[in-house]
């Protein structure tokens, strides 16, 4: 049963990175689209999906707390600076996107846009650092506590953080290519194609740094997954670039979505059967079943929540269906 819940946790985390990922990508790209009209257009493309995207994170943390309480406490507090940075970024983006168009002055809106850009960068860097931090293990001691925060400041974590920035930037550009009409869409397609090599370089440097770092090598419980999944990620990025070149925006979006979901699979598969690997004491690591809540809790959550998951996904799918396709000049403008 804990495997089912671990899979659900992975589903919601990956869903968050895919959906929240293009929020942050669009946010980052505001920096590359100065001027009120292009920015408003990009935010209108995000429009109806934005609020529904951010809450995938909330759902993932809810599952983490309900079904994996031990993991929740040690993972979040063990990676404190990275989680805090990501959280600050999420708050900034969430508030700034919703509020930026409430004042009507251009200067005030530009200031809010600055917050959206900063927040998007922080969120991507922070979640990248969290994922990389999991791949290099945390100093989890036998008493069950993680010691200190210094363990997080390594070149590998920095490269992981930058890789996620690269991935969301590509993904954001692909999303805007898919959603915006005519010239605006093509503008972002060109931008996306230029960003793919940048993301690839970041991914390659993170992979090489990981291979050179003892801690990362020792953390990898499944070396095959650790080597195969970064390659798959690179393939997904290349496929996204190629699909953009062939003007297949839908295909590009599938590929860049895969690129955002793969890091979650990478972390889960590489560290399996552990949920949290200890870098100081192999026996102190938390396996998935050790990290899970006890049976009565999981049974309760399964009875109450699993029947509702189709409804949750169904309402999200309804929103995607109702607002599908490219925006036009009759699209409601609110953000």
């Amino acid at each position: 049963m804990e495997i089912l819940w671990y899979a659900l946790l992975g589903l919601f985390l990956a869903g968050y990175l895919v959906l929240g990922g293009y929020d942050y990508g669009v946010g980052l790209l505001l920096a590359a689209s100065p001027g009120e009209n292009p920015r408003r257009r990009a935010l209108t493309a995000l429009g109806p999906f934005f609020l529904g995207n951010e809450v995938w994170l909330v759902a993932a943390v809810g599952i983490l707390f309900g079904a994996f309480p031990m993991l929740e406490g040690e993972l979040l507090s063990g990676l404190y600076p990275a989680v805090a940075a990501a959280l600050a970024g999420v708050i900034l983006v969430t508030a700034a996107v919703q509020l930026r168009s409430r004042p009507s002055g251009a200067a005030a809106r530009a200031r809010w846009d600055g917050l959206i850009i900063t927040g998007s960068a922080l969120a991507a860097l922070g979640w990248g650092a969290v994922l990389a931090g999991l791949l290099q293990g945390v100093p989890l001691h036998a008493n069950g506590h993680v010691a200190g925060i210094g363990h997080l400041f390594t070149p590998f974590v920095a490269a992981g953080a930058l890789t996620l920035v690269g991935l969301v930037a590509v993904h954001g550009a692909v999303f805007l290519t898919l959603r915006l009409p005519g010239g605006a869409g093509e503008h972002y397609a060109r931008m996306g194609r230029r960003l793919v090599p940048v993301a690839l370089v970041a991914l390659a440097s993170a992979t090489v740094l990981g291979l050179l770092t003892d801690r990362v090598r020792e953390t990898a419980q499944q070396p095959v997954a650790a080597l195969l999944l970064p390659v798959l990620l690179a393939v997904a990025l290349l496929a996204a670039g190629r699909a953009l070149a062939r003007r297949r925006a839908g295909l590009a979006f599938v590929a860049s979505s895969a690129a955002l979901a793969l890091p979650v699979l990478l972390v889960a598969a590489t560290t399996w059967p552990y949920a949290l690997v200890s870098s100081v004491d192999p026996a102190a690591g938390l396996t998935v079943s050790e990290a899970a809540a006890s049976t009565p809790t999981l049974r309760l959550l399964s009875w109450l929540l699993i029947p509702l998951i189709p409804a949750l996904l169904g309402f999200q799918a309804m929103s995607w269906w109702v607002f599908r396709g490219r925006i036009d000049n009759r699209a409601p403008v609110y953000w």
Partner: protein
């Protein structure tokens, strides 16, 4: 479960900082949640009235109060996300020792309530003129129902901290034995009624106060704000009685299960003796300020109940013609917010020194991390959230000042929405 190596002084500092951060974040979050819950209830009324009567006035009311609701919601969701992470970041002992029980209602809250609420709200904002009216109306009902469900599950979790039930301890870790006990917790039912009626009171008074402000300024939108003044005032009066009813009804239940909070002297000393035997000597008395907060909150409650006296003045619009009642309603707007914070201080402060009453002291629940990290986090998040909160209220006040003209929410779709570079931008409005 003892304080670890960092030394007692250091651990105490870290504990104080973590508690201050929790109090700050929770208070800010709660100020926005009150308005979210209160206004969404009124929005359900307004949009349902619009659907039934088809009067354009109700559509404009829905759009105007909906805009204020959405400005407020931006911080409600942002601070709500911080709340969720804060447990893991600063209070990892909660997940470690009692996560098997305490985590379940929070998981329910995020999945069945928060997740759906935001999904529905996104569709509601952008579904104007796009979805069928019935579907659009159902969405605001969905937002309201999930918002109430959210409040319910959060209070299930909070009530468990106040009075742990339905669990057994094994090797120092709590395991769930009876989930229905969590739902029938004596500290839950009346508290839920109390909190949601406080939210409706806050929303009602906010609506009455802002309408009063517009009428004081002799708005050109007289009919619209007259209508919302009446709705807001009647809501406030009804809710003020409910707040007091549910509030006073809590004392009996809480006194029974939390003797150090509201219990008699005999029960209080009995439980302190028992804790001293089990956990060693210590200070088991809640801080004095938690009782003081309770007193001030009750005073504000009585003051707000005076809104009943204003109801007869609705006859022939005396309430507007006399003008001074308008000023009364305007200056009363902050009161429910103050009362709500005081109420939480009484409920949470009165639980001290326990994270889980009689089970887990706050000193064992706090994350064993250096005070420096916690202080950086406290200052960083406090500055960020307070700055965002103040900005948010400024935006709310400006929108309230500008009135119901020129609203972006629910504008009918028209070419020239600014998405085409060759057309001038018409959508500079908020």
């Amino acid at each position: 479960m003892t304080s670890e190596s960092t030394g007692l002084g250091m651990a105490m500092d870290a504990l104080l900082i973590a508690r201050l951060q929790f109090a700050t974040t929770t208070s800010i979050h709660f100020l926005f949640v009150l308005v979210t819950l209160g206004l969404v209830t009124l929005l359900v009324y307004l949009q349902t009235a619009w659907a039934i009567t088809r009067k354009p006035e109700y559509e404009r009311l829905t759009r105007f109060w909906g805009t204020l609701y959405l400005i407020n919601y931006a911080l409600g969701i942002a601070t709500g996300i911080v709340m969720e992470f804060q447990f893991g970041l600063n209070w990892s002992g909660l997940s470690r020792y009692v996560g098997n029980v305490f985590g379940a209602p929070l998981a329910m809250e995020t999945l069945v309530a928060f997740f759906l609420e935001s999904t529905f709200l996104g569709m509601w904002i952008f579904g104007w003129h796009r979805l069928r009216r019935g579907v659009h109306l159902a969405l605001i009902w969905g937002v309201a129902i999930t918002a109430y469900a959210s409040a319910f599950w959060v209070l299930v979790a909070n009530s468990w901290l106040q009075n742990p039930v339905g669990y057994r301890m094994e090797n120092g870790v709590a395991h769930l034995t009876d989930f229905t006990a969590l739902l029938t917790n004596p500290t839950l039912g009346m508290a839920f009624g109390h909190v949601v009626s406080a939210a409706v009171l806050t929303g009602g008074l906010l609506m009455a106060g802002i309408s009063a402000y517009q009428l004081i300024r002799r708005t050109t939108d007289y009919a619209l704000f007259r209508r919302s003044l009446r709705i807001g005032l009647i809501t406030s009066a009804l809710a003020s009685s409910m707040v007091m009813g549910f509030g006073f009804a809590q004392f009996g239940a809480i006194g029974g299960v939390q003797p150090t909070k509201f219990g008699g002297d005999a029960e209080r000393s009995a439980i302190v003796t028992e804790w001293t035997a089990r956990f060693g000597p210590g200070d088991y008395t809640p801080p004095v300020w938690s009782t003081a907060a309770l007193g001030f909150m009750i005073l504000i409650g009585f003051a707000l109940a005076w809104s009943w006296l204003l109801l007869p003045l609705l006859f022939r619009d005396w309430i507007i013609r006399l003008r001074f009642p308008l000023f009364l309603m305007l200056i009363a707007v902050p009161l429910p917010f103050v009362a709500a914070i005081l109420g939480w201080l009484a409920r949470e402060g009165g639980r001290q020194p326990w994270a889980v009453y009689g089970l887990l002291p706050v000193s064992d629940a706090v994350t064993p991390i250096s005070a420096g990290v916690l202080l950086t986090s406290l200052i960083g998040f406090a500055v960020l959230l307070i700055a965002l909160a103040v900005t948010n209220w400024t935006l709310l006040a400006r929108r309230a000042h500008r009135g119901a003209h020129d609203l972006a929410l629910g504008r009918s779709p028209q070419p020239g929405n600014g998405l085409d570079d060759h057309q001038p931008m018409h959508v500079l409005a908020g």
